[in-house]
């Protein structure tokens, strides 16, 4: 199989043998261990939990550790590049700072109002807000959605699907006490209303989450707050 790896704006060609059940991460690891030890890439868990190995595979953002070569190889050829929409550090390694800074900007941290002296807040698993949280909570922060999003490409300030999805799970946490501040952070040119509902994030999310749905929820809530005069 011919493998083209993007390094410094140019593609370098490698010949890699096909194996049964081979993943794209296996291919990159083979290149680095057997063909060119200078190749830089990032991975940790290899089992789809850590969210560190995402790359562009034949122009599509994917988690490489759980992507089988059989599913994505085209005419015995594989093109591997660093994730789109993020600055490249070297070879296949991108700088994720901007991606996670946006989680902070979207008020992505939990702020409860209770202390250790208070009783626990009862949270019913079947309560509608809790179900919204469940639908979005399994994000592994791999930035596949961020790389898939055209709005991020066109509007570099846009918070992006992952940060907005995170904000939506916190908004629906009944223990959360800072939701008005959160909605203010999510309104505006870089916030939820910038989303065009292209659904690329949902299409590509390896965990089968729907950031589009979360963002639609935020659009409604921000709009309601604006109509109430709370914003």
């Amino acid at each position: 199989m011919k493998v083209l790896v993007k390094r410094n704006e140019a593609f370098q060609e490698f010949e890699v043998p096909r194996e049964p059940s081979q993943t794209v991460l296996d291919v990159v690891t083979y290149i680095q261990r057997r063909l060119d030890p200078t190749l830089a890439y990032r991975y940790a868990c290899r089992v789809g939990m850590c969210g560190s190995c995402a790359m562009m595979v034949n122009d599509v953002p994917r988690w490489t550790c759980r992507t089988h070569v059989d599913k994505v190889v085209h005419r015995d050829r594989l093109e591997i590049a660093p994730l789109r929409n993020l600055p490249v550090i070297r070879d296949l390694v991108v700088d994720m700072r901007e991606f996670f800074d946006k989680w902070a900007r979207a008020k992505g941290e939990f702020r409860g109002g209770r202390s250790r002296q208070d009783e626990f807040e009862p949270v019913r698993p079947d309560a509608p807000p809790r179900r919204e949280v469940d639908a979005g909570i399994e994000c592994i922060g791999c930035a596949v959605c961020y790389a898939a999003c055209d709005v991020v490409k066109w509007n570099p300030d846009y918070l992006g699907p992952a940060a907005l999805n995170r904000a939506w799970t916190l908004f629906n946490d009944v223990r959360e006490k800072d939701n008005l501040q959160r909605l203010r952070a999510l309104a505006g040119d870089a916030g939820c209303h910038a989303c065009h509902s292209h659904v690329s994030c949902t299409e590509r999310c390896p965990k089968h989450l729907s950031p589009t749905r979360s963002i639609a929820g935020l659009k409604r809530e921000v709009a309601k707050a604006a109509l109430r005069g709370d914003l």
Binding site: V151, W154, N155, R184, A187, G188, D189, G191, H193, A194, H196, K219, V222, A223, A226, L227, L231
Partner: protein, 112 residues
């Protein structure tokens, strides 16, 4: 623009889109129905002039376009041409005024 006015613009675009969905449907059905027998322009004008209901309907149509198109164009200009800020918003106000003028000119011509 503040986050509040951005949200109001989004709401205005959603509301005008809902209105346009209805207006465009009525508009298209009316055209197809009206010309199926092969009407001349003079015959059409004879039927439309003086109709206050159609005048009101098409005035609302023009208003919805005047609100909807510039807000959509605002995002297109920002995302594709990187044109933001007050100069863009002023240009879009001029564009909205043009749409209102051109639209109402047509409405007055056909229904007044």
């Amino acid at each position: 623009m503040t986050y509040k006015s951005e949200t109001i613009l989004w709401l205005a675009q959603r509301a005008s889109a809902a209105l346009l969905a209805l207006c465009v449907a009525v508009h298209l059905v009316t055209i197809v129905y009206a010309v199926r027998g092969g009407l001349s322009a003079a015959e059409i004008l004879e039927r439309t002039r003086g109709s206050s209901a159609w005048f009101a309907f098409y005035s609302i149509f023009v208003l919805a376009v005047t609100v909807h198109a510039p807000i959509g164009l605002r995002s297109v200009l920002a995302e594709w041409l990187r044109w933001r800020g007050r100069s863009r918003d002023f240009a879009l106000l001029v564009f909205a005024a043009f749409l209102a003028w051109a639209g109402m000119r047509a409405v007055l011509g056909v229904f007044a």
